[in-house]
């Protein structure tokens, strides 16, 4: 597995950890252009009471609002930009990324419920679009870490409870089943 990709994915994972600390579903991402990170973001759906504020859309807004990163109006502002995200982009984000002309996507674990890069729907390339070019999406980068941080979110103690109780019946599972196919899932 390419060490450069892993290096960027570690940065995305740090954002997922930040989301966890903020009591958000822990998904994080970084956008990379010309060998450097131009935006990093994480889920903010709870804070903003908006179920569409996923990490990817947060970062895209940041990039478009920055005149240094988006100096001129173009049809595809992310044409030279690669996304690293801890979880496979959902159908909404996969479509958003295609509309923005993203170059390529690398992700950690698959998203069986909402995945838009092949798990539920192949919005990145399988789905035909009259204008927007398809993009390649490859999973399996720090997949176990991505799954574990999600699991940690779902068993978090509630510090706000009046009488915090020990979670006797909720144990953090550490066993991770492999994907049905071996190696990184290529979702193009």
């Amino acid at each position: 597995m390419n060490s450069e990709h892993l290096c960027w994915m570690k940065e995305a994972m740090a954002m997922a950890e930040e989301a966890l600390a903020a009591a958000e579903v822990p998904v994080g991402c970084v956008f990379v252009r010309d060998g450097r990170i131009i935006a990093r973001a994480r889920n903010r759906t709870n804070e903003l009471r908006n179920a569409t504020r996923h990490a990817e859309l947060e970062a895209i807004d940041e990039i478009l609002a920055d005149a240094a990163l988006t100096p001129a109006r173009t049809a595809y502002p992310l044409a030279g930009t690669t996304l690293y995200v801890t979880v496979e982009p959902c159908i909404m984000c996969a479509s958003a990324l295609r509309q923005m002309g993203i170059k390529e996507v690398f992700y950690g674990c698959e998203n069986d419920r909402f995945g838009g890069c092949g798990s539920v729907l192949g919005v990145n390339s399988k789905l035909v679009h009259p204008k927007h070019a398809p993009y390649k999406a490859t999973g399996g980068y720090l997949r176990e870490d991505a799954i574990m941080v999600l699991r940690r979110f779902y068993i978090t103690e509630n510090a706000n409870a009046p009488i915090p109780k020990a979670k006797v019946n909720r144990v953090l599972k550490t066993e991770i089943l492999p994907r049905s196919t071996s190696g990184p899932a290529n979702r193009d």
Binding site: A51, T52, Q99, F114
Partner: protein, 360 residues
């Protein structure tokens, strides 16, 4: 000025008894079927979602627990297909909330011997057949609600009139956007027709949004996404403080979102009952793109009505039908306006024609 198709429809439903139930063919829209009822008969087809539950070892506290639950604000309309209590031999378990609506561990009442809340998978919808009921009950006791033949799920003449008027307002908003050199695409969430939905959703004012990708230079500023953001910002600000907070950034917001209600007028927010777009109906001039169709699913909208289908880009029945996908944890109903396709040049005449390769 000759009467537009929508005006003609409005005249039609304005006459007569608003309680009367029109025939399916008489409604201004056709409904897109999301799934066949007997598709539910396979155990593997049961769609589930995560929910918080708690074990109640002492059955004598059942009434106390249920009373608390009623007042807790955890119950939402999206849980109405689930029974509150599961009994497995001597073991009682109480359903607290859907994790999607209550991501934090719910705070429990002071009832002795309660377990810690934990998460299990529960069915996402009521059982339509006896076989599916059996399957769904293996996850959690579920309500049996078979569809009656020809049942129109509460579509009366009054409600059809409400829908036509809401759609006309949506078209006006799209035309106003076009006058400002935006794409003529608009979305609209009106105040719900039913009193109980109005109260549960705390929607005392309607919300409008339109496409702003041209003025903002942002390819994702679509009407539906803009509207979802306006409603979220409004709800976040009205629950943060009693005083209306400043409106969100002018760049990101459609120009015509309503002002927050006067302080003290809104009732105390009930957890979950006014969650996102739960129990709300969205009207839009054009079939939403894949991104917006999924954004509406994430936002738990109840139903979506559109005028112009977009065969090459639409996510509500054309390229894909997102709420019909297996695995997704929410469904919304889709209605496609009838006369839009049958009357040639209709979109053109209304001033809302767009190219067929656009994502609305």
């Amino acid at each position: 000025d000759k009467l537009s198709v929508l005006d003609t429809q409005i005249r039609k439903y304005a006459d007569g008894n608003p309680q009367e139930v029109p025939s399916e063919e008489d409604l201004p829209f056709t409904r897109i079927k999301l799934y066949r009822d007997d598709e539910e008969d396979e155990l593997s087809s049961v769609r589930t979602q995560a929910a918080w539950v708690v074990d109640l070892p002492d059955a004598r506290h059942t009434a106390t627990m249920l009373q608390w639950l009623k007042k807790s604000g955890l119950e939402t309309p999206t849980m109405s297909h689930l029974k509150r209590i599961r009994k497995q031999e001597a073991r009682l378990t109480v359903l607290l909330a859907l994790t999607a609506e209550c991501p934090q561990v719910p705070t429990l009442p002071n009832v002795p011997a309660l377990s810690e809340p934990y998460v299990i998978e529960v069915p996402s919808s009521a059982a339509l057949t006896q076989i599916s009921l059996k399957h769904k009950n293996t996850f959690w006791p579920t309500v049996y609600a078979p569809r009656k033949k020809g049942e129109l799920e509460g579509w009366t003449r009054g409600r059809a009139l409400w829908a036509c008027e809401a759609m006309r307002r949506t078209v006006e908003e799209a035309r106003a956007a076009a006058e400002r050199d935006e794409l003529p695409i608009a979305a609209h969430v009106p105040v719900p027709y039913e009193t109980e939905d109005r109260e549960a959703t705390q929607m005392s004012t309607s919300f409008l949004g339109h496409d702003t990708r041209t003025s903002t230079g942002h390819p994702l500023r679509h009407a539906a996404l803009n509207l979802i953001r306006s409603i979220a910002d409004f709800r976040a600000s009205s629950s943060r403080s009693a005083a209306p907070s400043p409106s969100p950034s002018s760049v990101d917001s459609p120009t015509s979102f309503p002002l927050p209600p006067i302080a003290g007028e809104a009732p105390a927010p009930r957890n979950g009952a006014h969650y996102l777009l739960t129990s709300l109906t969205l009207f839009t001039t054009h079939e939403p793109c894949i991104m917006c169709s999924m954004a509406l699913l994430h936002s738990r909208v109840k139903e979506v009505f559109y005028l112009v289908p977009l065969a090459k880009t639409g996510g509500c029945g054309s390229v894909a039908c997102l709420p019909a996908l297996k695995g997704v944890n929410h469904k919304y109903n889709i209605g496609k306006w009838r006369d839009c396709e049958s009357v040639p040049g209709w979109a053109e005449e209304e001033g809302i024609r767009i190219n067929d390769d656009v994502d609305a």
